[in-house]
Each structure stands twice: as structure tokens, then as C-alpha cells.
């Protein structure tokens, strides 16, 4: 079952005029105007060439053969040959020109979309799952590419071919031409209605495929839990229900397809019956030459594809419009966290929270309210609080991953919102509790915040974070880690994330419970090394354990979204029971009492 919150939280989509969305993307075609003109010219010429081949055939039969002019055969035959070669050449030109143009459009769109997404704030990304974004960057863009390169062109070409051939048929022998013209209307209509139903059933299949995939994903990621409770049968049943539902829809699709495909294939043969009957009668009554009849039959067969594909192309256009809507929707989302203009030339790292409050956009209560804190340059503040007290949000406010909804945060007296984003985020570096590693080399992951770090700097950072295990990886610092590379343990990942933050040499270093997955021994070593780093920077340390708190000069206790007590560790320990409780100082007595 797809989580319902996904659809609910998606921005309300207005009934926008889809054509407009597609039209707005036209700028991407501009660099390829020349190619487009060439493509269209080649395709148009191709239509005329392919039409003229049957005409030559007809002329050959009616001319040299009926007249007994043996010498006339060769030139006409060679003409047919030449036309055939030209037709192939025109297709070659069109396809080659097309490849560069449409792929160029797709690539440019994808680059721009990515760059835009990179700048949209956390608030946006927490609403949108990466899967939804991915489907826009892959599926929707290919749909637009297919339409702009293929659909749009053939929409024009097919209509052109239809009109030219039909008028030619009318001209050759009007009763037959009329039959063809009249027959084309219901056929286009039928294939369109087929196409619409087909799109509907395909959507259903797609959704259900998504359901099956979700189920597979869940059973795979949760395999250890499923195994450890012996619940494979339960998981299979949930999967099987969805797979069977998918199967039923697939069969409906098969049934529809069977009729549609048959219709498409029987169509030319039915046309043959009609033309043969009427044509032969016409020839018999001498209203029509035999050569014209043969030309007629071959021309008619040429009409089948444009007629039948019109429905397909029209639905392709529809899909492209929807796709364009979805893409434009992202382009239209303005990043609401944008940088100011102030630069700090020599930041000291004097951090102040002044009456800070924060509330998630769709929430009813504040996560944080009335938070006042001051951390002097070089000082380290520990933030202590129970799970869910808002510590992580608090740390995210400093580098403006989220913006405060009340009060302000200043660095060296300047509101963080007045600083340029690069400047702000250079001053502040964070090591997150759940570290994000990318499928890149260990080095690239480490130097995220300082791309041109020297080897010595990297070494030093690894030293601080006790992350020298990197050297034991198969290719050392060059080993690819992350999802698509070497799997690292939770503790290893945290140490890399710590090294990354340290390496960025920030004036303000934020450690969000960065040491939680380390064993006691390693933790002690890391803390030892961190002391030196923190002595040179302003620090905020989110901590669960007393040992981590000891890294700090002072402590703030966060309860119910605000600071309820502040002071040194020993002060708080002595005077605030809730604090002592939280840090487990009572645990020992507790254990002893019951032992």
C-alpha cells in the first residue's frame, strides 16, 4: 500500500492548461532550430518520394507495358530505384539529425531540473520522496523527449501524408478516393478511443506494479525482521494479493490489446477487399487503367500507418503534456531559503539564538519556542534533551537547512538570513547522527565541504575521527563507499561524517549525536581528539551521554521545545534532577538497589 501521506502532502495541483506547460519548455528546442528545420524538410520530402514510388509503378504498367514500349521500361525502373535510394537517405538524415537534437533537449532539461532541485530547501525535500522526483527526471523527461522528437514531427507528417495521398487518390479515381477518405474518419476515431482505453488500463497496471514493487521493497528491506519472526508466509500473502490483482489488470490489458492489434492488422486487408472490388469493377468498365489500380492498391497500403498511428500520436501528445505539467511544477517551486548579501570576511563564530521558535509548515504546534542561547567564539555548548525534544531541528536552524519561524539567529551579530548561503555554510559545518555517504570514493565523501583539501588535511581529519580504518579498505581512500560501494558499519559511517565536518574547518562545528554508534573505547579516543578541534572553534554538541557532554564548556537542557536550564555540567547535575535523570547519573544507584 503506498503511504497515503505521500499523495496528501503533494502540492495541490491546479488544473493548469497543460498545453501551456509544454509550450513553456519550447525554449529548450531553440538551439536546435536548424536541426528541426532540416528534420522537417527531410521528412516532408520523404513523404513525397514515398508517394511517387507507386505512381512510377502505375506509370510503368500503363505506359511501356501496355504500349509495348520495351525501351521505356528501363528508365522508369531506374527512376523507381533512384527514388527508393533517396527515400532511405532521407530517413537516414532525419534520424541522425534528430538524435542529437532531442537528446540535447532531454539532457539540458535534466541538468536544469537537477540544479533547481539541489537548491530547493529541506522543507521541500521532506515533502517529496526521491522516487517521485526520480520519475520526473527519468520517465517524464523521456516522454517529453519522445514527443518533441518523434510525436510532434509525425503529427505534422502524418496529416500531410493523409491529405496528399487522399487527394491523390481522389484525383486518380474519385469514387475510390472518396471511399478511402470516408473510411479514414471512423478509423482515426476508433483508434483514438482504443488508445484512450489503453492508456487508462496501462495506468492501472502501472499503479499496481508500483504496489507490487512497494511490497517487494518492504519485504526485502525488512527481511531480517520477517525471518526473525518466521513470518515469510505472511509476507508472501501480502505480496501475492497484489501480484494477483496486477495479473488481473494485465489480462484486461491483454484482451484490449488483442482486439486493438487485430484491428490494426486487419484494416489494410479490409481496405484491399474494398479497393479490389470497386477497382476491378472500374477497370472492367474501363473507367480505370490497370496500372492505376496497382498504384492505387500500393498507395492505399501506405495510408494504413499514418491513419492507425494518429491515435497513438495524439495520446502521446497528451502524455507529454501531463509530463510537462509535472516538470514545470518543480521549476515553479521557488526556493524559499535564499541567501542574503552580507559576507563575513573574518568570522569569529559568535553564535546567538534570540527568541527562536520553529514550527513545521503543516504542524499545529511549535517544535521550538523562545530559545535564547549564546555561544561565545571558541566556546562549546552541549544540548541535552529527551528523544523528540527538538535538538536536531535546533542544529538544523544554524546552517539554515530550516528557517526559524520566530526570533532570529545571529553569527557575529549578523542575522544568518542576511548572510550569503555559501558564506554561512562555510562558517557552519555539521556532522549528522544519521550520516549520509554517497557512492563516491571515500576521499570525495570526506572533502564534501573542502573540495581542494590537501592529503595532510584529510589525514588529520581522519585522525581526529579515529577513522583510519579507511586505509584498510581495498583501495584505501579511493575505495567507493556508500550505497553502491563498500558497506560500512554504523560506527564507521559516523566517524567518516565526523571527519568530513572536521575537515571543513568551520568556525562553528555542530555535532548532532555523532558518536552514538561508537563503542566506548573508540568514543573515548574520538573525544580526546575532538577536544583540540573544539578548542579552536565554536561548538554545539548534541549529547545523550555524560562523556560527550564533558566536551562542552556549558550545557543547555532542552525540554518541551525550549531551554529550561543552562549552566555547567556539574551545576546542572547538582541542581536539576531532570538533567541528572536524562544523563543516567541515577542509573547506577538504580541498578544497585535492585541488584
Amino acid at each position: 500500500m503506498p503511504p497515503s501521506s505521500v499523495t496528501r502532502s503533494r502540492p495541490v495541483q491546479q488544473k493548469r492548461r497543460s498545453v501551456t506547460s509544454l509550450w513553456r519548455l519550447r525554449g529548450y528546442l531553440r538551439p536546435y532550430t536548424g536541426s528541426l528545420v532540416l528534420m522537417t524538410a527531410a521528412a516532408t520530402t520523404g513523404v513525397f518520394v514515398s508517394i511517387s514510388i507507386p505512381l512510377v509503378t502505375g506509370a510503368l504498367i500503363d505506359g511501356p507495358i501496355s504500349d509495348g514500349d520495351r525501351g521505356g521500361i528501363l528508365p522508369l525502373g531506374l527512376l523507381a530505384l533512384a527514388l527508393g535510394i533517396v527515400e532511405a537517405a532521407l530517413i537516414l538524415i532525419r534520424r541522425w539529425v534528430q538524435a542529437a537534437a532531442v537528446l540535447g533537449v532531454e539532457t539540458a532539461l535534466r541538468n536544469d531540473l537537477y540544479a533547481h532541485l539541489d537548491r530547493l530547501p529541506m522543507a521541500f525535500h521532506s515533502r517529496w520522496q526521491s522516487g517521485q522526483l526520480l520519475s520526473r527526471v527519468t520517465g517524464d523527461l523521456s516522454t517529453i523527449r519522445r514527443f518533441s522528437g518523434f510525436g510532434m514531427l509525425f503529427l505534422v507528417i502524418n496529416i500531410l501524408q493523409l491529405t496528399v495521398v487522399t487527394s491523390l487518390l481522389l484525383h486518380l479515381y474519385w469514387p475510390l478516393g472518396l471511399v478511402v477518405a470516408v473510411a479514414a474518419v471512423p478509423i482515426v476515431y476508433l483508434s483514438m478511443s482504443f488508445e484512450n482505453r489503453y492508456v487508462a488500463v496501462s495506468r492501472r497496471v502501472q499503479d499496481q506494479q508500483g504496489d507490487v514493487a512497494t511490497q517487494i521493497e518492504e519485504s526485502t528491506l525488512g527481511i531480517r525482521v520477517i525471518k526473525s519472526f518466521g513470518r515469510s508466509e505472511h509476507a508472501f500473502e501480502a505480496f501475492d494479493t497484489r501480484a494477483t490483482r496486477l495479473y488481473d489488470s494485465q489480462l484486461a490489458k491483454v484482451r484490449l490489446q488483442a482486439r486493438f492489434f487485430t484491428f490494426l492488422e486487419v484494416l489494410p486487408n479490409l481496405a484491399l477487399v474494398v479497393v479490389l472490388l470497386l477497382g476491378a469493377i472500374a477497370v472492367g468498365r474501363s473507367g480505370l487503367s490497370l496500372g492505376t489500380l496497382v498504384a492505387f492498391i500500393t498507395l492505399m497500403l501506405q495510408l494504413v500507418w499514418p491513419v492507425a498511428s494518429l491515435g497513438y500520436i495524439l495520446s502521446m501528445a497528451q502524455e507529454a503534456m501531463t509530463a510537462a505539467d509535472r516538470v514545470v511544477e518543480i521549476f515553479d517551486t521557488e526556493p524559499d531559503i535564499v541567501g542574503g548579501t552580507t559576507q563575513l570576511s573574518e568570522p569569529r563564530g559568535h553564535l546567538r539564538f534570540e527568541g527562536v521558535g520553529f514550527r513545521f509548515p503543516d504542524a499545529e504546534t511549535d517544535v521550538l519556542h523562545d530559545v535564547d542561547l549564546e555561544v561565545l567564539p571558541g566556546e562549546t555548548l552541549a544540548v541535552v534533551g529527551a528523544t523528540g525534544s527538538g535538538k536536531t531541528v535546533l542544529t538544523g536552524l544554524v546552517p539554515r537547512l530550516y528557517d526559524v519561524t520566530a526570533g532570529r539567529i545571529t553569527i557575529d551579530g549578523v542575522d544568518v538570513r542576511d548572510l550569503t548561503l555559501p558564506c554561512l555554510r562555510q562558517v557552519v559545518a555539521t556532522a549528522f547522527e544519521e550520516p549520509t555517504l554517497f557512492s563516491m570514493s571515500a576521499r570525495e565523501n570526506l572533502t564534501l565541504g573542502l573540495p581542494d583539501a590537501s592529503d595532510e588535511e584529510v589525514r588529520a581529519a581522519l585522525e581526529v575521527a579515529q577513522a583510519s580504518f579507511v586505509d584498510d579498505l581495498p583501495w584505501g581512500l579511493h575505495t567507493r563507499i556508500g550505497e553502491q560501494g563498500m558497506a560500512l558499519s554504523g560506527g564507521q559511517r559516523q566517524r567518516l561524517a565526523l571527519a568530513r565536518a572536521v575537515l571543513a574547518k568551520p568556525r562553528i562545528l555542530v555535532l548532532d549525536d555523532t558518536l552514538s554508534a561508537l563503542d566506548v573505547h573508540t568514543e573515548a579516543l574520538v573525544e580526546q581528539a575532538l577536544r583540540n578541534v573544539l578548542a579552536r572553534a565554536t561548538g554545539i554538541v548534541v549529547a545523550h551521554r555524560a562523556s560527550t557532554v564533558l566536551l562542552a564548556d556549558k550545557v543547555a537542557l532542552l525540554q518541551d521545545g525550549t531551554v529550561t536550564a543552562a549552566g555547567t555540567h556539574s551545576q546542572l547535575l547538582a541542581t536539576v534532577p531532570a538533567y541528572a535523570d536524562l544523563l543516567g547519573a541515577m542509573a547506577e544507584t538504580d541498578a544497585e538497589v535492585s541488584a
Binding site: G77, Q209, E217
Partner: protein, 633 residues
């Protein structure tokens, strides 16, 4: 072990070559960023094209066996359909040659009408048999697909956790989804196209030769060229296709990672560099795609060229033959129609080709997975164990994840029923391995693990899982309500029991504070819950399952101290009548144990009650305890 999945997995050994290869081909503007890794673990060697390996054929056979009769029917239907289709141009010829002359000579249109009537009937036959063919093959295809989906799903569920650790979830998911889609797509479009194209080719060739030998031979002159062009295309497209897939994978990986890791991206001002990298992988993808487009862009006009030249030659030579009275105009017309019918499907081959390739590659991988034997196999004659007391024994247990690097070099351990044992030791000491052996996620290399005196390998999985439950750090929540997630431990448990379990471990209050209490839906694996809250739910789940042996591997690591203490208090009651193995970094958790084992390199170096070990004053545990006490102040 996995002959299939490790083919081509040259982890570690191919350092030099794979460095060169990946650097050479990837974005030149951003060298080195991706780092080195064991590449292409799944890739199928180039030689695998449409020809399938034995195991794929075996799989295909076993899937199709139940449909033998229907397949025979399909064969009959497809022959009827193609004969009908191929008969039509021939009948047109008859119409022109035999139907028109009588009319021209005033003998009426009887012959023509008769012929047209026959054509009408043949078209009807074609329509009916075509629909029948599509319905039958479509149905078989979908049934095969459903069966394959079921088999793959079951099989992955059956394979050991060791396999899953090695194979990674990403690959399991892509096997079960995108590979399945590839096969489906072939069933959707490719199969029909292949059959029709093949039959049309053969049928047309025969008919052309029968209609007029010489003219037919001229038409067949195109064959060698067609074969040559198609073979060239199939060879080249195999390469480009592979490149396209690799490059699109790089685009997707980079995209998904930067979107899921956007917090780090923004916090470290990574956007510029990321865009650089994205543009590079995106451009690689464009280039690969362009190559594929160009390839089709050569192939399609090539076929068209061969077709048009053949038509022109037939027309030219045919005109002379007609002129000489050797063939009729009807025959010439029939030839032109046949050639059209013949070359039209050829155009589509390029479209089918990729479909075929990806489907056969997918089948190849799936058959490999399906032939993977579970490392932890089910007993042939399970020893029933309806009620367990919870006595656990490890006897001379040897275990290693990697050959020659033993984690447990011969461990003996006996835990009497009802005892709570804490395992302490540094990372790599073998604590988690012991937990995994007792819960039979792995089997020992040598030695025996017993529950109530019975070898775990002789126990039915259902029995074992009912008696032994492990809770790990990794607390996976499924889609569904909070109550559903707790109930996962014991299906069919009443709401009261679920609540009881949650309250017993101190999770009741936070769950009730959720928007819909126990009915709150868990969206995207509990992203809105904190790590500690997720852990509490996982804990309630295990508690509800009520096993004889409970294993807690760092199960409380994300809890804050008060919550942890609440859990511990609950544990004292819960574990009273139960065997428990507890692994924890924090000594506060260890304090509730009856017995502490300090492990080092897979061996027990200290064994005793916590109090005894502390009183000893100089041991490893005593030192740890000392350090821990100091950290509290």
C-alpha cells in the same frame, strides 16, 4: 555457494584493471570522484545475447511445462493466421488476373465477386485467429510471469540472511522489479513480433518462389544483405545497449543519492560540485543514447534501402517479364504487396531487439538467483518442538564470514533455561555472530548449536522462530498501523495484548500521544518517528511474540537514558522466566544480566555474575565498569 551470483564478482582481485577501466570511461572532467569498486557484479558477459544459457532454458522449460497443451493450440492458431494473411495478396493476384478479364470481355463480374468473397472470408479467418493467438499467448505470458514473480519472491524470502547481506537489498529489489519488467515487456510486444516476423519471412519466401521462380530469386537476393545488416546491428546494439544501461544507472544513483542526502549536500555547499558531476554522468548517458539512436538511425534506413532496392529490381525485372508475357500483372502486384509485408516487420526488429536483450539478460540473472541454494537449509525430517524451555548450547562452534579469518575459533557455551546473559567485548569480538548463530541466521561451519538439546538444523523454521526471537538495532517498520507493526510478532493477537505489550516496555504513552494512537499509519518506514521510538515499537513486537529465547543486539542503543531505564525495568520482569542474550555497549544495560561473558577474538575471557566480575577488581569487565562510572560524573 553461489556459483551464479559470484561469477564476474572479482572483488579485490581486479584492482588494477578495474581502476583503469572506470577512470577511462567515466567523466573525464571529474576524474576519480567515484572511486574504485568491484564493478558490474551483475553484468552478463557480452556473449550472452538471444542465446540463453542452460539454466535459463531450464527455468523457461519449467515455467512453460504446465502450458504445453495451450502452446500446441497456439501453434495451430498461428499457422492458420499466417496462412490466411499470406493468402490475401495471392487472392488479389487471382482477382486481377482472373476476375477482371471476364468483365472486360463482358462476361459479368461473377468470378471477381466470388474471389472478393473468398478474400472477405480469409480476412475474417485472419481476424479471428489473430485475436485468438493474442489472447492465448497473452494469457500464457501473464501466467508465466505471475508464477515467476511468486517463485522469485518466495525464493528470496527463503534465502539466508548471509545471502542478503552479500547480495544487498538494492539488487534483490531490482531483480524482482526491473528484471521482471524487462521480461514482461518482451511478453507484451516482443514475442508476438518475433513469431510473426519469422513466419512471414519463411512464408513469403516460399510463396514468392512458387509464384514465379525467377522473380522470387531476385527478391531473395536481398536475404544475405538483410542477414548481414541484422547481425551487425545485433552485435553493435548489444554493446551500446549495455553502455546505455550503465550510464543511466549512474544518473539514477547520483540523482537519488543527492536527493536523499540533500541535507548534507546543502550543509556542505556541495551543489556546484554535484551539478558538475551530474552534468558529466548525464552527458555520458546522452552520448550512450546518441550512439544507440544513431545505430537505429543506420539500421532502419538500411532495411528500408534494401527493401526499396529489392522492390525496384522486382519491378524492373518483373516489368520485362510481364512485357514478355512470362508473368501476369496480377503476379507483379502480388509480389509488390508481399515484399511490403515482408519488409515492414523488419523495421520493427530494431525495436524488439533491445527488448529481447534485456529480457534474456533478466532471465539469465533470475535463473541464477533461483538456482542459488539457501545456505541455511530446512531439515528433511524436522524434530518437533512445540514447547521450548530455552536451554541454549554452543558446542565447539567454528565460524568465519571470510575463509581463513575465523570469528569464532571453537566456542563452547552453555546457557541454562531462564538465564540472562550479557555479551561484552570490542567490535569484532564475535558478539553479534553468536546472536546470529543462535537465531540461525547463519549455520556454524563446524560444531553444533542446540536449543533444548536439539540441533537447530533439525528444527522446523516455524518452531525455531516461535521460540527464538532477535531484536537488533535495525528496527524495521512496515507500512500499516503501529498496532499492526507490534502484532507482527504474534499474528492474531488482540488489541488488549498489543497494548499490554507496548505498555509493559514503556512505549504506551508515546504511542497514545500519536495523532491516531495505535492506529496511526506508519508512513515511509516511520520517518516521522524518532530512532528511539522506532526501537520501542520493535521491542514491543518482540515482547508480544513471547519467545523462550530473546536476543537483544544493541536493541536499546537509540533510546535516551530515561526510556532505556524504563525498558530495563520492564526487562527485569520480562526476562524473569526467559533465556536472554543481551549485547550492549552501555554497561547500564548489562547490569541486569545474571551472567556476563567478556569476549575477545571469539573466545570467552571472563565469565561470571556482574558483581563477581567487578569485585575481582582487575579484569576486563572491572576496567570497563570503572571507566563507565567515571564517565557519569
Amino acid at each position: 555457494m553461489s556459483a551464479s551470483t559470484t561469477t564476474g564478482t572479482t572483488t579485490g582481485t581486479s584492482t588494477g584493471t578495474s581502476t583503469g577501466a572506470s577512470n577511462g570511461t567515466s567523466a573525464s572532467s571529474t576524474p576519480d570522484w567515484r572511486g574504485v569498486s568491484a564493478e558490474n557484479q551483475d553484468e552478463i558477459p557480452d556473449s550472452v545475447g538471444i542465446v540463453l544459457r542452460d539454466r535459463s532454458r531450464r527455468l523457461l522449460r519449467s515455467l512453460l511445462r504446465p502450458h504445453r497443451r495451450t502452446l500446441a493450440l497456439v501453434l495451430a492458431v498461428v499457422l492458420v493466421e499466417n496462412s490466411a494473411r499470406l493468402a490475401i495478396p495471392f487472392l488479389v493476384k487471382e482477382g486481377i488476373d482472373k476476375g477482371i478479364p471476364p468483365m472486360q470481355t463482358g462476361q459479368g463480374s461473377g468470378t471477381l465477386v466470388a474471389i472478393v468473397a473468398v478474400v472477405g472470408v480469409v480476412v475474417a479467418i485472419q481476424a479471428v485467429s489473430r485475436i485468438a493467438f493474442l489472447l492465448l499467448t497473452g494469457k500464457i505470458g501473464q501466467q508465466v510471469l505471475l508464477e515467476l514473480r511468486r517463485r522469485v519472491f518466495r525464493h528470496f524470502q527463503r534465502l539466508s540472511t548471509a545471502f542478503h547481506d552479500r547480495y544487498t537489498s538494492g539488487r534483490v529489489i531490482s531483480r524482482s522489479t526491473s528484471d521482471m519488467d524487462a521480461i514482461e515487456e518482451m511478453l507484451d510486444t516482443g514475442f508476438d513480433g518475433l513469431v510473426t516476423a519469422a513466419l512471414t519471412m519463411v512464408g513469403t519466401a516460399v510463396l514468392l518462389l512458387v509464384l514465379d521462380l525467377r522473380l522470387g530469386l531476385i527478391a531473395l537476393l536481398s536475404f544475405p544483405f538483410l542477414i548481414w545488416l541484422t547481425r551487425w546491428f545485433s552485435r553493435e546494439s548489444a554493446k551500446t545497449y549495455r553502455r546505455t544501461r550503465e550510464t543511466v544507472a549512474a544518473v539514477i544513483v547520483h540523482f537519488v543519492e543527492s536527493m536523499t542526502g540533500i541535507r548534507a549536500v546543502q550543509a556542505f555547499r556541495r551543489q556546484g560540485r554535484n551539478e558538475e558531476i551530474f552534468e558529466a554522468v548525464n552527458d555520458d548517458y546522452r552520448l550512450a543514447n546518441e550512439r544507440a539512436f544513431r545505430l537505429v538511425g543506420l539500421f532502419m534506413p538500411g532495411i528500408k534501402l534494401i527493401g526499396n532496392i529489392t522492390v525496384a529490381l522486382v519491378l524492373l525485372y518483373g516489368a520485362f517479364r510481364v512485357f514478355d508475357g512470362a508473368v501476369t500483372i496480377g503476379v507483379l502486384t502480388a509480389f509488390l504487396i508481399y515484399l511490403r509485408q515482408f519488409f515492414e516487420p523488419m523495421q520493427d526488429i530494431s525495436q524488439f531487439y533491445n527488448t529481447f536483450q534485456s529480457a534474456s539478460a533478466a532471465l539469465e540473472k533470475l535463473s541464477g538467483v533461483l538456482e542459488e541454494r539457501p545456505d541455511v537449509s530446512a531439515p528433511e525430517q524436522p524434530h518437533p518442538l512445540p514447547v521450548a524451555h530455552g536451554e541454549v548450547q554452543l558446542e565447539h562452534v567454528h565460524f568465519s564470514y571470510v575463509k581463513d579469518r575465523p570469528v569464532l575459533p571453537g566456542l563452547d557455551l552453555s546457557i541454562p533455561a531462564g538465564q540472562t546473559v550479557a555479551l561484552v567485548g570490542t567490535t569484532g569480538a564475535g558478539k553479534t555472530t553468536i546472536a546470529k548463530l543462535v537465531s540461525r541466521f547463519y549455520d556454524s561451519d563446524q560444531g553444533v548449536v542446540r536449543l533444548d538439546g536439539i540441533d537447530l538444523r533439525d528444527l522446523d523454521d516455524t518452531d525455531l522462530r516461535r521460540h527464538v526471537v532477535m531484536v537488533t538495532q535495525e528496527n524495521f517498520l512496515f507500512a500499516g498501523s503501529v498496532a499492526d507493526n507490534i502484532r507482527f510478532g504474534r499474528p492474531g493477537a488482540s488489541d488488549e495484548l498489543v497494548r499490554g505489550a507496548a505498555e509493559a516496555i514503556g512505549a504506551g504513552s508515546f504511542i497514545e500521544a500519536l495523532p491516531d494512537g495505535y492506529d496511526t499509519q506508519i508512513a515511509s518506514r516511520g520517518a516521522r518517528l524518532s530512532a528511539g521510538q522506532r526501537q520501542l515499537i520493535a521491542f514491543a513486537r518482540a515482547f508480544l511474540a513471547d519467545p523462550a529465547v530473546l536476543i537483544l543486539d544493541e536493541a536499546t542503543s537509540s533510546l535516551d537514558v530515561p526510556s532505556e531505564r524504563l525498558v530495563q525495568r520492564a526487562l527485569r520482569t520480562i526476562l524473569h522466566e526467559r533465556t536472554a542474550i543481551i549485547i550492549a555497549h552501555r554497561l547500564s544495560t548489562v547490569a541486569i544480566a545474571d551472567r556476563v561473558l567478556v569476549l575477545e577474538h571469539g573466545q570467552i575471557i571472563e565469565d561470571g555474575t556482574p558483581a563477581d566480575l567487578i569485585d575481582a577488581g582487575s579484569g576486563r569487565y572491572a576496567d570497563l565498569h570503572e571507566a563507565w562510572l567515571a564517565s557519569l560524573v
